[in-house]
Structures are given as structure tokens and as C-alpha cells.
Symmetry: C2
Subunit: 299 residues, 2 copies
């Protein structure tokens, strides 16, 4: 029988090792004033959901990810870690706790945290471009990988979503506006994780499209589940400040639709994600497990 | 006779138009909360030295840059504009004036300036990857372009140099350490501008190497000339806070070696840059003019 929890734990360990190796290589000779907050932000635990999703999507190709594929996957975690450092900054959400430890700016000061965050975005692009080249990917693909990751991270994606999130604080938002915020803030990078893994695995266009459809739904479900957890969790269980969304007057799914509809919607999206795979005859216990995990996790 | 000033003015206008078009295209549908500070940071004047250098380097191929080439060149200005926003932030140098106007955070607040800066790095990578693809460059080249730009912008390059610059404040530095700070903080992006233009122009390896040698020297000369200008200029002539380096106790060439040796060293580097071109039989009045301009400019 397929052991999803074992897959999750083993792949997370695998990602953690690859990430440490990538940071060792790419930060050689860089001053510890900069490498310490980058390492702190990247290595301090975390679910590694985006890199694991990338690898599960890659495995749809039928091949097991090798050393290089895992290294490329870490770029998604570097972008994600950057977004957390950035989001937590005093001039943004001003949070104190993240992944069960002080936030990066609490540990290193706003100056080191800000500059570390700024370094992490080009670092991630560089990792993708270099690793794609090193693994001998068809070269057109390398450029597409960086373009898709950059689009997902940039003003049309994650950063744009953070902006919508900020400017909607304390405002009434419609359900459509909320979905748009989620789609950019969280969905774009999760969708990119699924697509990039599929691209590196050289999935055929219809299979890649199914994985994309899956990634879009899982991305939205992920953010709704996050909002539900923020409402019902404690700072201890989450490892970050609980109820911070509500205090900031953020637009959340439970806030707009109530907890019950929020939970149901997350579940519906996870089901739709799985249905998208099955329609394309993709048999991936890992991707199906991840979709369910997203809405059933406790942190 | 070659009219360098006309070349500079025309090319600058050309870059400004391309940059506006790129921002129009790539920021479509993004909220003005984010697009306003990005546009303010990118469009508020500036010498456009990096994009002009890119285009002059491209022209070594013997072809005139078309529409797409100019669009790609603007990525260098986006990265450069990002670095200025970032450098000026309250948690960094805390400057009030830039390009003759209030700095981005003075105009829009630290929150909008910080998030705009964060959006500009993936934006630049995205522009390079998309424009390279649109112009039908050999695809291996597209990946190399993004990798080189990201390396130049990241912890091994510009951001790493900003860090060395910060941690050396108020410290005694050796000449070698100073060169290393300059090489990363300013040199890496200028070198990348020269190389990327050459790569897009598909220069042969020895010609690209000569352009790289040129770019390295011009990058160092540029920073030394900047430090000299900071010492002798006024806020009105520079359009940014004058004497701010000295007040911050920054490591500068005039500070370590005195004004006279600083001026002589900048000039020597410009001469070496031109010599590197001539040894490779590159006849480029534009590149030669830029090297001289760097050390003779008044702002």
C-alpha cells in the first residue's frame, strides 16, 4: 500500500539536503553578514510543500528525480522563503514568529533581513538557469523555466498578490476579488511548482495541462486552508503568529464566507484537482496525497 | 565625425521609450499601488548607462539594435533602478534625494517602496527570458542571459557588494578589499550589461571576452568616478544627496587613496578598457566614448 506520510517525510529530507548543498555551492565566498540570514530563512524547517510538489509532478514522467532535479526544485523553496521574510518585515505584516522561531528580521534586524530577501530572488533564478543547464535540459526549456518562475514571483504573481492583500486590509472584498488575491499571492507559485516539475520531466502538453489545472486548484485550496488554520490555530501549533490575519483586517475566505463554507471550498478544490489528474489518466498517489494533505494538514 | 553626445542622447531616448513600452506590457492589470512606485523608480530620468552600454556592445556585431533588442536592454535598467530604491531605504542608506526627486520611499512610503523593489527583480528576469524568446535567440542563450543577469544581481554580485559596502562602514579597508566591493556593488552589473549585449549580438568568444574585459574596467572606473563626484559635487548637481558616502563612513577610493590618485586610477581603467577593445581589433566609437564619458561626466 502507498505510504503517503513516508513519501512526504523522505522527500522533505531529500529537499532539505539538496537545499543545503545548493546554498553551500551558490553562496561560496559571500560574507556571512548575508549568508546567515539567507540560510536562516531557507533552512529553518518548513513543509517544503512547493519543492515536494515539483518533485511529485516530475515523477509523473515515470522517472525518479535525480540529484540535479532536486537541486532545481529548491529554487521554489528559496522564492517561498524570500516571500516569508518579506511578508514578515516591520514595514509589511510586522510578525514576530515564523516556523517556530523568531522571524528573520527579529533574529538579524530589518537591514540584514531586507537585503537577504533581495538577494534570494536572483539567487533562485540563477539556481534554475544553472541547474537546468547542468542537467542538459533542452535549452529552450531552461529559458521557459526561469520565465515562468519569474512571472509567478513577480508583479503579476506573488508580489502582486501581496499588494492586493495589503491594499484590501480593512476593506470589504467580493468573493471574486478574494480568489484573485489568493490566485496571485499563493496560487501562482504553487501552480509554477507543479508546472516546472512537469516541464523538467518533459511531460507532453496535455499531461502538463492537467498538472497545471491540478496546481491551480491546489494553490487556491492551500491558501483557504491556511486562512482556516490562522483562525482556529494557536501560535504554538502554527509556529507563526496566529489570528494575525484577522487582527490586520485581511481579506480571508473564512472572513468572507465563514468557516464552514471555507472548509468545504478547500475540500471541493482538492477534489477537483484530483479529478483533473484522473481525467488525463495520470495515476499519481503522490499528487493525490498532496491535494488531500493540503486541506487536512494542521500547520 | 562621430558625434558621441548625439549617440548618447538618442540612445537614451530610445531606451526610455522601450522601457515605458515594457512596463506598459508587463504591468498590465497590476494594481497602481504597485505600478506607481515601480514606474517612478524606473522612469524618473537616469543616465541609462547600463542599457546604452548593452546596446553599444550589441552593435559590435555590426547590426543596429532593433525594437526587441532595446526591450531586452531595459532589464538592466530595471535591475539598476531596483538597486537604487533598495539602497535608499530607511533601513539601508536612508537617502532623501535621487535623480533630482524625492527617493521612492519618500514619495510612496517604505512599504510601497520595499515591495516595488522586490517586484522589480523577478520582473527583470521575466523581461529577459520573454524578450529573448520573442526575438528567436538560440534558446541556450536565453538561459545564459538570465543566469548571468541573476548572478550579477544576486549575492555574488550587486547585493553581495551592497553588503560588503555596509559592513565596511566606519572600518579601515585595504585597496584590495575596496576593489572587491566596487567589483561586486557596481562592476558586476556593468560587466553583465556589456556581456549580455555582446551575447545577444552573437559576438564570437574572443570578441565577447574583449568586451567583458572592457566592461570590468569600465565598471570599476564608474564607481571610482561616482565616489569622486560624491566628494566634489553638490546635491543639486548630482540629483542625489552629496557627501553621503563620507557621512556614512563608507569605503571609497578617494577616502582610501585621496582624490588625485582616485581620478588617475579611473582614467587608467578607462584607458585599459579601450586598449582591451583595440587589442581585439574592435572599432567601436560608442564603447570608446562611453569609457571616456564614465570618467569625465559631471553627474
Amino acid at each position: 500500500m502507498y505510504d503517503f506520510d513516508a513519501f512526504l517525510d523522505e522527500t522533505r529530507e531529500h529537499v532539505n539536503r539538496a537545499l543545503t548543498a545548493v546554498l553551500d555551492d551558490y553562496l561560496t565566498g559571500v560574507d556571512e553578514w548575508l549568508t546567515e540570514p539567507i540560510r536562516y530563512a531557507c533552512e529553518g524547517g518548513g513543509k517544503r510543500f512547493r519543492a515536494i510538489l515539483f518533485l511529485a509532478s516530475y515523477e509523473v514522467s515515470g522517472r525518479a528525480p535525480d540529484h540535479r532535479v532536486s537541486r532545481l526544485a529548491t529554487a521554489l523553496e528559496i522564492v517561498h522563503a524570500y516571500s516569508l521574510v518579506h511578508d514578515d518585515l516591520p514595514c509589511m505584516d510586522d510578525d514576530d514568529w515564523r516556523r517556530g522561531r523568531p522571524t528573520c528580521h527579529r533574529a538579524f534586524g530589518a537591514e540584514r533581513a531586507t537585503i537577504a530577501a533581495a538577494a534570494m530572488v536572483p539567487l533562485a533564478s540563477w539556481v534554475v538557469a544553472e541547474e537546468a543547464r547542468a542537467m542538459g535540459l533542452p535549452a529552450a526549456e531552461s529559458a521557459v523555466l526561469v520565465a515562468e518562475l519569474s512571472e509567478a514571483a513577480g508583479p503579476q504573481g506573488m508580489v502582486g498578490g501581496q499588494v492586493l492583500d495589503l491594499i484590501s486590509e480593512g476593506q470589504a472584498v467580493t468573493g471574486d476579488e478574494l480568489v484573485e488575491i489568493h490566485r496571485r499571492k499563493t496560487g501562482a507559485l504553487i501552480r509554477a511548482a507543479a508546472r516546472l516539475g512537469g516541464r523538467v520531466g518533459r511531460l507532453t502538453p496535455p499531461i502538463l495541462q492537467a498538472v497545471t489545472d491540478y496546481g491551480e486548484r491546489v494553490g487556491l485550496a492551500f491558501q483557504i486552508a491556511d486562512d482556516v488554520l490562522d483562525e482556529e490555530g494557536t501560535t504554538a501549533s502554527l509556529g507563526k503568529d496566529a489570528h494575525s490575519d484577522r487582527e490586520l483586517g485581511k481579506a480571508t475566505y473564512p472572513g468572507v464566507f465563514g468557516m464552514e463554507r471555507a472548509r468545504a471550498e478547500a475540500r471541493r478544490l482538492a477534489d477537483e484537482a484530483i479529478a483533473a489528474l484522473r481525467r488525463a489518466a495520470i495515476a499519481s498517489p503522490a499528487l493525490e496525497g498532496l491535494a488531500i494533505h493540503v486541506v487536512e494538514r494542521e500547520s
